[in-house]
Symmetry: D2
Subunit: 333 residues, 4 copies
């Protein structure tokens, strides 16, 4: 199978490397308008072909799939062209700049019977897959809350705020782990510098008395990457800055004793052992590539399909509206 | 000077101990309706007097001041009686259950020329005083944002939610460190158990493009006590769970380069050394006691006076309204 | 039962407090030559009796037991007097200043049928008892090595070096956890200041190819309290500076595959889950007190008896000789 | 300049990559007896030449320098051939298997006027260079002790024990930072598996009352990389497992107050601020390559020359003798 990667900025070369390493991808084409990036790709990846125009690229009848690693505002147009040319498409996160765009792409893919893969890479990490496994066994019980922090001193994007840049990682993880339906969003934050929010707090309300919160910040002196999930049976902490023991499961619980009637209801605590399961170290992008390839071969939707991409975009879009109105609740369309 | 402590629950005995240790407080009376708590006080604090009624207590013409360490819904009535009896009053946090109550007490104290001391103990810790010192020297520049996390597995209160229980600490620290005027609040959270929120996120908007956020949680498997302040010059992290090096000042900055005009505005990063100033280890409650005693002697307001207590209550009250409406912005009255 | 505590310095008052709290100890006498320390004891511990001479003390026929919390060079004389007067004796660590002294005391106690309790408090902590439990279940397999670090900026003792001051804690823990016979010691270190070693490294060789090492330092800028045990099946880390999760059991192993014959012998690695068992929070000194009281009542040896004290002193004595000879191996007598 | 790398195992490819990236190295030859490793090199490093024999290699008159990244027992023969062929030589650590070998190579290089570079990479890290800078400014005062821990679950080497494998890193850092002359060594440890020590403790005695200790372990469940240096003025901690703030300087001191005469000498403590200097992030191997190239061009010795390599080997050799005799002091020849 012949694959192409469009956009050779920061992330594109990682896609080229993983595509080249996959046994079922026989050749890879790198595409960028900047000749200097093509030169870099040729020296870095022996055996690669290059081209400087998407239009030429998609006329290649042997080309099976194209990955888009360009700025988010170009995703829709590029993905549309690729799908309409009958190729499968891999889109970097965030999927699109609007939920309408996301819906159109899903529709086009359906009509053309093609696969959309949204690169929510974190869902392919050993840590997140292990947490999913623990959850599916019912160890945590019912999810009560989901809390995520992703802050550090990061590069400002000029086209999007910190929510669009960092929160897609965490929202996609939430979509995978919290099996409940979100219905509304409230967001707060501040734009201290160039009109783009550099600090944001995003609250998500779920049906069934569940709640999630996301804290993202481009201007923090310290780097924190931590998620906490509270369940009715146990609780989980995922600290991605730990070199070892990233995932910890606490035999900690809070339970309401309702025997005595509502007014005497007693909240009971329990703390017990903690354990940290071993986590698979395979590179997430390698597993993501396999999932894309297999979805194409098997004619099925991948784990991170267009609907999963849309889920994240709907929340970001609502959060954008809410943050402009300082926390006003926005229902998810 | 003769002082009394009303309420010998969890915190009251700490007040008794510190009052007894102060050189200018010559005798201490412990007051509680529960005979068993009075017995405990007599055995634990040799030389103490006890009584079981506030009414008898305040008729003592030698009594100079009374500390209230009872549940928050009793603060107003007790403090009113004490002030009207011409005694100075120390009130545990949170000051009162409503801002109207707080305003009435401030008025009564003014009419009777008596001191109100609100026990925002954290303002007397070595760590917070050191941060204040650093800020006053202008090291951080203008404050951009203030972020606080206080989460752990804590005991549910039956009368208040997690915001009223935990956030007063952090709001009082914010009032001390951020020299700007808050004007609105948005709060989100969830009540997973008994109708009282066990997780809450509170955003505060300030005049002058500054923002603060508070995360409190009674049902977290891990204990975190951390504040981050971003400034135009440097940034600060206060981690109260560290045994050493609790306060760290980062020579880290984000600056907007506006020379090129708004559209080409460039965000510039800088990271440099970090330092951790030595922090005084004196028990905060001992310094708080001295501040109360000195305010009485000098006929002045203490650092944590009624207005400081009111500042915190106004925000909590607005946050309570906001959290019931899922993040709706509530202007501070 | 009537108990006494001799020596009201840093540690003695903790003994008084725990003895007073024990249900079977009906009265406690505090003994010190310094009137000011007796005054302190009377004000701090209502109901206590005091005296200023050990000789008067031990003539009291009702007195059951005496705890010695004085400098180590006085332990032998005091304990001898107490045992010969027919009282049971509790001795602070280190037991004695020499192994001969330790042996004499054990002999005297035997002749008088009295209990010697050496206060190796750590053996009564929840963490060490939990590790013992894990070991006894065979989870770690055979112990390969034991490694202990106890360093911080500590007060110099004027009469002993850092080994005699800090290592007794760790040596007593080793004696409890490593069920093998030590036969030789090698020690290295440096005396940077007053002729007393402030840094020391102590190696212990055991029969059965097992090894232990102890690092103690009074002049470290950071505080570390950590033990690591490697076993043939699993490994254990005990970090006493952690607020939570002090004990961690790693499903990590190294095994030699001997099937292929010695020359092709393959070392195989295994890493798996980690777990951290819940640890009992009861104050160690309270459990130590109970063990002493019960040993007296039941006429049996306590867990930390004279032999356990002697075990530690023999190693310290050999280490002292070795460190003066820069690591020379000293066989245990 | 034309360079070659002999040995394409774990480390060799890193040398190839850095040599290729250096502006003054125009071509790189990779040499290995295993055709499969040469193939790997050709696909990974476009433009590289390969050869499978050192003898053919050194006959190339244009070849300027050769790097040896083969097992330690081959270093002497290979380096000898290379130097005698008039090429400069880069040798991976440890320099040689014996101090005699090291001395011969130094002599041969001198006679042929060629450069020996020993790859003590750590001396080119930003962290170690920053510590050196701090030391050279006299901030720490006189060095009292140096303590190093390098433990983890590592691969057993079949030809050397854990000391020869891991301690060269730390011994080379010590040689760079502690400006005193070591005169004797005492080492202890255990070989739990295949006759090679997997745990070792190495003590080094210096002239001028200074002491160093090295703890290395291949069979630890946790990974620790930490150095502590105590000085008469300040103290330093270098924690290489920290993602940020790897180097910390503590304004902590211990001083002997000798005014009162030796017998009343008082040890005084001081703790103050801590600071963590910003550390340069340039890859150490890139700076090492530049140092090698510059030493060749300028006809001078590099920072990590043969003498620096010999320093480390002399200590390892003495430690080997000592550990076989369980801590016996071995004077450095």
């Amino acid at each position: 199978m012949k694959f192409a990667v469009v956009g050779l900025g920061y992330w594109g070369p990682n896609l080229v490397r993983n595509f080249q390493a996959h046994p079922q991808i026989t050749s890879v084409i790198a595409c960028d308008e900047r000749e200097q990036r093509l030169e870099f790709a040729r020296s870095r990846f022996p055996g690669i072909s290059t081209c400087n125009s998407i239009d030429a690229l998609i006329q290649d009848p042997d080309l099976k799939a194209v990955a888009i690693a360009t700025p988010v505002n170009t995703h829709y147009d590029l993905a549309k062209k690729i799908l309409e040319a009958g190729k499968h498409v891999w889109v970097e996160k965030p999927f699109t700049a609007s939920s309408n765009h996301a819906r159109h792409l899903i529709e086009i893919a359906k009509q053309n019977n093609r696969v959309i893969f949204v690169d929510h890479t974190f869902l392919y990490t050993g840590a997140v897959r292990k947490i999913k496994e623990v959850l599916d066994k019912g160890e945590l019980g019912d999810v009560l809350y989901f809390d995520s922090v992703r802050i550090n001193l990061g590069l400002f994007q000029h086209d999007v705020n910190v929510m669009w840049d960092l929160a897609p990682h965490d929202l996609s993880i939430m979509s995978y782990l919290v099996g409940k339906k979100p219905y509304a969003v409230s967001a707060n934050g501040i734009a201290n510098f160039n009109g783009m929010e550099n600090v944001a707090h995003l609250s998500v309300y779920f049906e069934g008395n569940c709640f999630a919160h996301f804290h993202v910040n481009w201007t923090s002196p310290v780097k924190i990457r931590r998620m906490i999930m509270g369940g009715t049976k146990k609780m989980m902490v995922f600290d991605d800055m730990e070199n070892f023991d990233k995932v910890k499961i606490y035999d900690t619980g809070v339970a309401i004793n309702t025997e005595e009637g509502v007014h005497q209801a007693l909240v009971e605590y329990r703390t017990g052992d903690m354990y940290s399961p071993k986590v698979n170290q395979t590179e997430a992008l390698s597993l993501a590539t396999s999932e894309f390839v297999n979805a194409i071969i098997e004619g099925r939707k991948p784990l991170t399909d267009g609907d999963n991409g849309l889920y994240v975009i709907r929340i970001l879009e609502a959060a954008e509206e809410s943050i402009k109105n300082k926390g006003q609740l926005v229902l998810l369309s």
